[in-house]
Chain length 290, copies 4
C-alpha cells in the first residue's frame, strides 16, 4: 500500500455480478502490462451476488499510457465482463465544495486538515445560506458564496449553486453542518458525491433536536453518522459512525459540545475515505476498504 514515497499510481474500483475469474482476468491484465500491485482488496456480497474490488498499482513502467487507460481497460476487460468501473490517479487533487450554514467546527476541521498537507484535495469554494462564515473563508483564501435559500427561492438558489459547482469544476461536496435539505434534483447531479454529517446515530431519535431527545431518554452514548446524501432524508449509504460516552452529569449543552467534537471526527474520516477512493456504494450500503 502506498506510503507516499512511490511515484504515480492508479486506483481501479470495480463492481459487477459475481462469477468466477474476475480477479484473475483483471490481475492478469495488470500483470501483462507490467503493473505492480500496491493494494488489492475485494468483497463479495453473497446474498446479492455482487462482486466489488479495489486495486491500486504503480504506473511506473506500466505499458498502457495513462490517457488511454480508461478506454483500453474498458474495451479489453470491462465490456467483456460487464463491469462497472472507475479509474483514478494518485496525483489528481479532487476539487471540493464545502456547504455550511452558521456552525464552524466542521469547516475549521476540514480547512486545517487540508492545510496540514496530508490531504490531497483542494477546497474550491465554500457555499453558505448565511453570510456568517465569510470571514473564515477569507482567512483561508477560499472563495465564499452566499446563496440564501428560502422555501420560495429554493429552486432558484439550487440552480445558482449548481452553476457555481460547475463553474468551479467541483468533484464532490461536503455538507459541513449545512442546514438545508437538498432537493432530489440537486442530489441527482452528484450521486454518491455529497457527504453529510448527521448529528446522531441512524437509527436516530426522530426530530430535529437529537441531543435533546438523547438527554430525555437518558442514553449513555451519543453518536454521529456520516453518509452519502440521497433523495430520501437521512437514508443514504452510511460511510462512518462513531460514538462518545455521556453520563447523567452531561447537560444538553454538554451533549452538544461533545457531539460537535464527534461530528468533526466522523466527518473527517468519511471525507478521507472518499478522497482515497476507498468507498464503493451498492444497494444503499457502502463497502469501505481499509
Amino acid at each position: 500500500m502506498g506510503n507516499g514515497k512511490e511515484g504515480l499510481s492508479a486506483v481501479l474500483l470495480v463492481h459487477c455480478v459475481d462469477r468466477k475469474g474476475i480477479v484473475a482476468t483483471i490481475t492478469d491484465f495488470l500483470y501483462k502490462n507490467g503493473g505492480n500491485i500496491l493494494y488489492l482488496d475485494q468483497h463479495v456480497d453473497a446474498e446479492r451476488g455482487v462482486f466489488f474490488m479495489r486495486v491500486e498499482w504503480a504506473l511506473d513502467g506500466f505499458a498502457v499510457p495513462r490517457e488511454e487507460l480508461q478506454d483500453t481497460f474498458g474495451e479489453l476487460i470491462a465490456d467483456k465482463l460487464s463491469l462497472d468501473f472507475k479509474i483514478y490517479f494518485s496525483d489528481e487533487r479532487p476539487r471540493v465544495a464545502i456547504f455550511v450554514s452558521k456552525l464552524q467546527h466542521c469547516l475549521y476541521d476540514l480547512l486545517s486538515s487540508v492545510r496540514s498537507g496530508f490531504w490531497p484535495m483542494d477546497i474550491a469554494l465554500i457555499i453558505s445560506n448565511h453570510p456568517d462564515l465569510k470571514g473564515v473563508a477569507e482567512n483561508f483564501g477560499i472563495d465564499f458564496h452566499h446563496v440564501p435559500i428560502t422555501s420560495a427561492t429554493k429552486a432558484e438558489g439550487e440552480a445558482r449553486e449548481l452553476a457555481l459547482l460547475s463553474e468551479y469544476d467541483v468533484d464532490f461536496i461536503v455538507l459541513a453542518r449545512y442546514m438545508q435539505i437538498l432537493s432530489d434534483d440537486f442530489v441527482k447531479h452528484y450521486p454518491n458525491r455529497v457527504i453529510n454529517i448527521h448529528h446522531s446515530f441512524l437509527p436516530a431519535f426522530p426530530g430535529a433536536k437529537p441531543y435533546h431527545s438523547a438527554f430525555e431518554r437518558g442514553v449513555k452514548v451519543i453518536g454521529a453518522t456520516s453518509h452519502y446524501v440521497t433523495a430520501e432524508l437521512d437514508a443514504g449509504p452510511i460511510i462512518e459512525q462513531d460514538i462518545v460516552r455521556i453520563t447523567h452529569r452531561d447537560s444538553v449543552g454538554e451533549l452538544v459540545r461533545k457531539g460537535r467534537e464527534l461530528e468533526k471526527l466522523v466527518l473527517t474520516r468519511a471525507v478521507w475515505n472518499h478522497l482515497k477512493r476507498k468507498i464503493l456504494v451498492y444497494a444503499n450500503r457502502t463497502i469501505v476498504f481499509d
Copy 2:
C-alpha cells in the same frame, strides 16, 4: 473509596427536592456520629429540581448501631428533609435470580464473574422457560427451575416465578437474554430491580431482529443496552450502553457473534453498578455514580 481492605461500610442513597443544606445536614449527621466518609458524590437535576446523593462511610467507630441506622436516620434526618433514602451495608450479599432461555453466553459470563470472587453477590437460582441450560446450572451447583411460559399459561407461570423468587429470597433479577416479556404486574414486584440486556441500541431498529436490520441498513457500529425493566417494553431507564464497530465484511452471523460479546460486556457492567449500589433512578433516567 473502598479498596477491599477496609472493614464494614454503609452506603446511603438519597433523592429529594433540591434545596440548600442537604449535603450539610447529612454530612453533619455522619460527622457527629463519628463516620469517616469513604465516598460522596451528588448530582442535581437542575431542570426538575431534584437532588441525588450517594455517600459511603466506614462503620468502624460509628456511633449509631447498624441495626438502628435505618430508623435513626429516618427520624432525625429523612423525615425532616422529606428524603427518599436507602441504606446498604458492604457485607450484604444480594441474592440474584438469573432468567434465561436458550442462549448461554450472558449466563456463563455472570456465573464465572461471581466465581472469580470479586463479585459480592450470590446467584440464588436460575429460572428458564426452556430446559436447555439446566446442565450449566448443575455444573455450577445452582438450582434450576424450568417454568415454561405460553400465552395461555403466562399468568400461572409468572405466579410460579414470583413464588420461587420469594422462596429463594431474591433481591434482584437479571434477564440474561430471557426471551419472554414480563407482565406489568410482575415488574411491579421488583421496581428497578429487574435488569435486562437489549441486543441493540435504544433507539433501535424496530422489530425482533435488530442485527438483521443493522445489516440491511449498513450501519458501521452495533450496540447493546442494559436497562431496568418497566411496564413499557424496552423503555426502562438505561444503565449502560456500548458499541462494537463492524464493516461491510461482517455477515449477519458475524454481527450476531460480535453482538453477543458486547451483550456480555454491557450486562456485566450494569449488574456490577447495581450490585455496588451506584445507581439511582428518577424520571425514567439513571444516575450512575462512578
Copy 3:
C-alpha cells in the same frame, strides 16, 4: 451542575489530610451563607490519606461577597482544617498562551474551539520558536511572538517568554506540539499550569519517533497522552489519554496522520477539564472530576 443558564457560581477545589468532618464543615459553611450547591464531588486517596473535593455553588444570594470569599473561607475554614484550597468564579475567562513550533493541527483545533463560543477562555498570545504559524495567528487576530530557541540562547529565550507571559497576564500555557523542552526553572513559574500533548502513550516507546517505533513493534493501537509538565521529561501528572486502532495496512505516514487526529482530541479534552477547574494534582497523579 451548571448548564449555562444559571448566574454566577464559584468553584472551590480543596485537598488536605483526610479526616472526619471535612465535608460537613465545608458544606455547613456554604449552607449557613445561603449557598446552593450545584456540584459536589470528593475523593479519598486511601493509601496516602488525602482528601480531595470540588464543590460548585450559586453565588446568587450567597452571603459572603465575592471579593471577600478568599479571605473569609481562608480564615473561618481553611486555616482551621489546614486545607489547601483555590477558589474560581464562573465568569472568569482564563488567559492562555499557546506554544507551537511548526505543526498546526492542535493550534487550529484550539483556536476554532474557542471561536465556537463554548469555551470560556481567551487566547492571549501565541509563542513559537519558528515563524511558520504567524499567519494563522494573524487570521485569528491573536498576537504572535517568534522566540527562537537554541541550546546557546535557551536561558535568554525563556526569559523573554516569561516576560511575555507576564506582560500578557497569562493564567496557563498549552504546548500544542511545541518542540522544545522547558527548563525546570521555567516550569516552576507555572506549576500544574503547563499542559502538554505527548504523541504516545505513557509508558511509551523510548525516543523521539514513537510512531516509527509503534510501526516497528507492530502494535494494534497507538495512543496520545496529555499531561502537566514537570521538571522530569514526560513524567508529569497525566490528565487524559486515548487511543486509535491501527492495522498492518497503516504506513508510518498513516500512523502520523491518525495520531494527529488523536492528539487534537486528547489535548482538547485536557484543556477543557483544566478550564472547567475539574483537575486536582497530588503525588504526581491527577484527580479529574467529571
Copy 4:
C-alpha cells in the same frame, strides 16, 4: 465471504518476495480449476518487499481434489514463485490446548465461546501447573492434566506437556493466564501457534505487576495485549490490543477487575482470528486480515 451457509471452502495463506504477477498467477490457477473466490485480501510490506495474501474459495466444483491440493498447488505454483504457503479447509476443527494456572476468567470465556457453537474448534485438553481448575474442566467434560512446574522440574514438566500435546494431537495452544514462562525449546515446537494474553500494553510498565504500576503512574487507560509467544519474553508478534478507561477512583483492585474483563475480550478476539486463519506473521509483526 463465508456466511456459514456455503459448503466447503479452502483458505490459502501465502507470503513471498513481492514482485509482479503473483495475484494474477494464483487467481488464474483458481479460475482455471473452477474455484469461486469468496474472499481475497493481500498486503505488501513496501519496506521489506514482501507480499502477503489470504484467499478463500468454494471447493464445490473445484477441479483439484482436496487431498491433492497441497501437492498440486505446491508443484504448479508455489515452487515456481518461491511461495511460502499453507492451505486450510473450512471443515477442519483445530484441536486446542488451554494452559491455565489459577485464574479462571479467560478459561471460562473460551469454554463458553466454544459451547456457543459459533467457534469451529475443539478444546482437546487443559493443562495446568496447579490443580485448582480441575473442576471447571470436568464440568465441561474436558481432560485436565496437572503438570506442576518448578525451576528444578521445568525440563521434565515441559517434556510431559509436549508428550500430552502430541498425544492429544493439538494444533495450537492458548495460554489463558498461564503463569509460567515457556522455554525456547518448547516454543520452537509450536511456532506462531502459542497465543498468550499479556495483562498490559506493550510497551508496558516493567515488572510483574503492571496494574500496580499503572495505578502509581496515574494513567487514564489500561490495556491488554494478545501475542504469539516467541523465545523473547513478551516480544512476540502482537495479534490484538485494546484498552479500558480508568479514573482516579479506581483502586488497584478495580484495575485488576476491569483488566480481567479486558483480557477476556482481547484473548477471545485473538483466538478467533487465529482460528479463522486470518493471521500471517512476518518479521515479528502480524498481518491480520479482516
